[in-house]
Symmetry: C2
Subunit: 504 residues, 2 copies
């Protein structure tokens, strides 16, 4: 793992180790533009920034900068370019793929102080916010207008909209309402040159090249975002959840496939396996069925007429594929209770295991049952337990690998287990991310997901915006050298095959 | 106009005129890979390709190539790179902004023969098609499965999915179901180097940089598409249209705003002004109200319960803002008749005017009424009539400027009128395209829409994929020299002002 982080884009042409950056000169240039209280350099101040939500990977940043306005962000970018200093941006630090893990020779730029809601336009259903605004704070601010911001990552109390943009975050309701990329209309970006761009717009189409979508999910590799225009949607009049038990994960998977194939797009469609249910129920007491091999939570929202009609159709499908128990939430309190179990799956894991590692991959829905069986087999292979909570409607898996970091080699086994799950996702035609991004965590799997020409295209795009390679280096896009070392290049179109992986 | 087309990206560094490309050498290199029947060089063969749907602009292509498979596309790209020959791609040639207008020293690559539906997956609701497949042919092929492809440009009988990808095409139903960019999940692309990339995927999120969205709407500037994976959606059980008359365009505009602000997203929401209604009604006999200053067509689709409930809410809003007449389609025949008028607005224009020029811009919905008034004032100024049909729910305008090309200076006045409408769109916070793309038509207005840094970002991205500048040169992204000559740079953030434009 340490070895994983040792390569650097800053290495000199002849491979010799470059001189450390001139932080003194850098801070002197920055002094007129950035007040002293926005600059942290003491270890007791910077320690808190050494990792994000993926605490397996840490790196102490030599300098942390906390700008309070766009002019300061511009000054930082210009100074970094002058002194050739890498920049890693950070929102609230809740990311799960290490996208905000600092660079050992760079600055960490925290955008949490840019936390103003600039403008709300209730007629156009749009809000303009700074990147440090918390995801949930947007919905809270516009609730009196009957509106909300749809993407709802589990960390939504804490995570920032800037971080959501960087990682293209999702959430329980993204099946119906889309990911961050579908709910952001415009971003204001500062480039490494210190120039300000506005990408996208409030109109449905935008002339020129669509660079907005490329910025969303670009993990701080292309520029720093200083303003985000989000789409607001009217709060549905009613939402109800069907909770259904199944006697096999295959049956639950079949139910998911049939709901979607039936033309229903539920507001949420989540699957929890028996281990998750048993992990969560004693903690949350959500009334989950402990006999079930898998439960589904399927939400319908809209007008009361729409919800009634959709729930009837969902129940019919669940019965047809053999649900052993069915329950519809009969109040808002009960609906929230049903969800509370799902939303607390991660903390609940902490009650039964000292550590857990949350993976994130996506598969075609039709393979849900088979992939769950394959993960079960991997539990044996790696000698670790795994609890599964899925955004099943999206085919987005979140296996929670349970381990104890104090037991010899369990960290390594957890990582290997996680990597095997991601490679299985690619094998069945899926991808190595659902909503957590690539960051540092999945950079090796990028070699597995993409072929050389596709990685080249990413690099070319990255260079067009960051010719100096200063923005979040060593994340997201692996070098070909790394891929060669990792020993895995592209099986995506059957050009190579890995006979040690299960095939479907 | 001729002067507009005379600049060339192929000019030599010192400004001297470059030697014409070596087409003989080029065709000799290509001969082993591309059969003779796929190569057109005689004027009587190539004449038909000299323009697309924007027939105001024409340029005879020296060579037309009609590849039949991806290997031939790769061979063409490699040969073009070797001989430094510009490439313009063409689908069915129905585009309205001149995106497929040939280059006078380049090859025109028609992709119409790549017209196979490769695969349909009814469970995943996905179809994989070649770029030459017609838009409507996809829906026809999957109709027996109860599915369809949502974006429906008026040219959908003829236009190709490849062209739709190039222009990010829309249509009447895009308000609810999105533009091409929202309905395409993956494209297979051949780069100028002859390499094959797959961008995007069937999963909701895709790791790495989102280059898929940047390719959609890139007007053939980044690569040639050889395969498109589209999302299919279940055909709604029922669709009904409310047709409403209003005594002023402002009232109709207000009705549009209130529908959207009320949280209703109709399947279509179209506005026609009095001139359009009078132009269309004698031709189609759709039963349009000739007394109205504007009519709205508002479609609801879904289950019968959903439609009933939504129609009730729409009618209530229309009544509240003063609709003078309301009618709900009571059969599928009547629904199609209501739409027939709207869909035939362009051909109907041909009955009352020798020529017409269809513009395409987008504005915030709240300015609908005011912009219609401003266009009325422009009719006086330019001495030409204009009929207005709008995708009102999107704020997407399609003014039809009526003129006679045989009358001295009417072409120039029509162009100037069109340009003034586009600049007005930007002025009120909108954009210069809705769904027709930029092409050659709106390249000067790009100077007006974007500032230097933003145009630089487009150019940098373009160069990353096409360092030789061979893919559809002189379209979409204006050079800064062009912008300086056009005399208009960016008013978008109020940095410059143009006092001769009306202000809101």
């Amino acid at each position: 793992m340490t070895e994983q982080l040792s390569t650097t884009d800053l290495s000199t042409q002849d491979g010799s180790i470059p001189a450390p950056p001139d932080f003194a000169g850098f801070l002197a240039q920055l002094a007129p533009d950035l007040p002293a209280h926005c600059i942290l350099t003491k270890v007791e101040q910077t320690r808190v920034y050494e990792c994000d939500g993926l605490s397996l990977y840490r790196s102490l940043p030599p300098v942390v900068l906390l700008p309070e306005n766009e002019a300061q962000v511009i000054a930082i970018m210009r100074a970094c370019q002058t002194f050739n200093i890498p920049i890693v941006a950070r929102g609230s630090g809740t990311g799960l793929s290490g996208g905000a893990m600092p660079h050992a020779q760079g600055v960490l730029v925290g955008l949490a102080k840019l936390n103003r809601i600039v403008r709300v336009d209730p007629l156009a259903c749009v809000a303009v916010v700074q990147p440090g605004v918390r995801n949930l704070a947007i919905s809270e601010a516009v609730a009196p207008l009957g509106l909300y911001y749809a993407p709802d990552p589990s960390s939504q109390i804490a995570c920032s909209i800037g971080g959501n943009v960087a990682e293209n975050s999702g959430g329980v309701h993204c099946l119906k309402y889309g990911l961050t990329v579908h709910n952001v209309m415009r971003v204001r970006v500062v480039t490494i040159e210190g120039e300000v761009l506005e990408l996208g717009g409030e109109a449905p189409d935008s002339p020129g090249l669509n660079l907005l979508a490329a910025f969303i999910g670009s993990e701080g590799m292309l520029g720093l975002v200083t303003e985000v225009t989000v789409r607001l949607i009217p709060k549905p009049e009613l939402a109800q959840v069907v909770m259904a038990s199944f006697l096999s994960v295959e049956a639950a998977g079949q139910a998911v496939t049939e709901v979607i194939a039936g033309g229903i797009i539920p507001a949420g469609l989540e699957l929890m396996d028996k281990r998750s249910v048993h992990m969560v129920e004693p903690f949350v007491r959500a009334g989950y069925d402990l006999e079930a091999e898998a439960i589904l939570l399927c939400e319908s929202d809209g007008t009361p007429e729409e919800v009634r009609e959709e729930i009837t159709r969902i129940e019919a499908i669940f019965k047809k594929v053999g649900a052993s128990r069915l329950q519809v939430s009969n109040s808002e309190t009960e609906r929230l209770l049903f969800w509370a179990g799902r939303k607390n799956a991660f903390p609940a894991a902490g009650r039964i295991s000292p550590d857990y590692y949350c993976m994130d991959g996506t598969i075609p829905r039709r393979h849900l049952g088979q992939v769950l069986r394959a993960i079960e087999a991997m539990e044996e292979e790696y000698g670790l337990r795994c609890a599964n909570v899925f955004h099943a409607g999206d085919g987005n898996l979140h296996p929670l690998i349970l381990f104890d970091a104090n037991v010899a080699d369990e960290v390594e086994r957890a990582e290997a287990f996680g990597a095997a799950i991601l490679e299985l996702c690619v094998e069945v035609g899926g991808t190595i991310t659902g909503e957590h991004g690539v960051g540092i965590e999945k950079i090796n799997q990028m070699c597995y997901q993409f072929k050389r020409e596709e990685l080249d295209a990413f690099s070319a795009f990255k260079r067009a915006f960051d010719p100096y390679g200063l923005l979040n280096p060593e994340k997201l896009i692996p070098t070909l050298v790394r891929c060669a070392e990792h020993g895995k290049m592209h099986i995506h179109h059957g050009e190579l095959s890995f006979p040690d992986l299960p095939r479907f």
